[in-house]
Symmetry: C2
Subunit: 124 residues, 2 copies
DNA sequence: TAACTGTTATATAATCAATGTAACAGTGAG
DNA sequence: CTCACTGTTACATTGATTATATAACAGTTA
């Protein structure tokens, strides 16, 4: 598994870790029941505090993506793809609602938005 | 002009003010060259610090939406609709790019996104 | 037992948003 | 000119969030 973080990003490190792990699950880099690196190992690799990694793991566990067993480690929870897919669909829905609100405020036509949509999605 | 702010929102107050004023400009509530409430007046109305209002005004000025003259007050700059329309189009483009990235990560089909898009935009 | 795991508590630092207060300067009506 | 309004600036402070360092504690397993 390969995680790249940036401390110059405006996205908090613990959130970057969460996103990277979710992406690894989706792309199959991490399989069900597979062990994650220990909080200290990952912290050393990324040259950050283990508390920051722990926070990421804690939140991922709360959200149901991983399971942590004290003394043993953290593991990818089963049925993860569906979970993340649901979550990402919800994110997309929120983003489209934002677009809708902006278009109402700025008097932008639906057609114009569809064109932008096409341009971005058609680039391979 | 009517501005409603929420301090329980995760959007900073100064940004809520900026958004509210941009919306007021777009909907024609605020016309070109019209005076904005003074920083202290608006601060009193909203029961917040005048420094928070000043910050909103300062950024709006930097972005070219208003003009502030020391001793006189702040005024809506001309050619605002076009400015905001450009800005909002850019925001929408960024949001669609976010959607694109999420769809790639979570293996969500373009068709599925279009359906969500239709549902949200068709509600009158 | 030793070397891993995760957990917890405490303290600290940096940044950002927001505030309070005070003093200063420009504008314009009376 | 004076007064009451405008904006400006400089401090100090609070609270929340992010991230860190350190230390001690507890479960797992070879």
């Amino acid at each position: 598994m390969n995680i790249i973080i940036s401390n110059s990003s405006d996205i908090p490190i613990f959130k970057q870790i969460k996103n990277a792990l979710k992406e690894a699950i989706c792309t199959g880099v991490l399989q069900e029941n597979e062990a994650l690196p220990s909080v200290r190992t990952l912290a050393n690799d990324l040259k950050i505090s283990f508390l920051t990694v722990k926070r990421a793991y804690d939140e991922l566990e709360t959200e149901g993506f991983i399971k942590t067993i004290p003394g043993k480690g953290s593991f990818i929870a089963p049925r993860n793809m569906e979970l993340i897919r649901e979550e990402k669909l919800k994110e997309i829905q929120d983003l489209i609602e934002q677009i809708y609100k902006i278009s109402k405020i700025a008097n932008i036509e639906e057609q114009e938005i569809k064109e932008i949509f096409q341009i971005i999605f058609e680039e391979e």
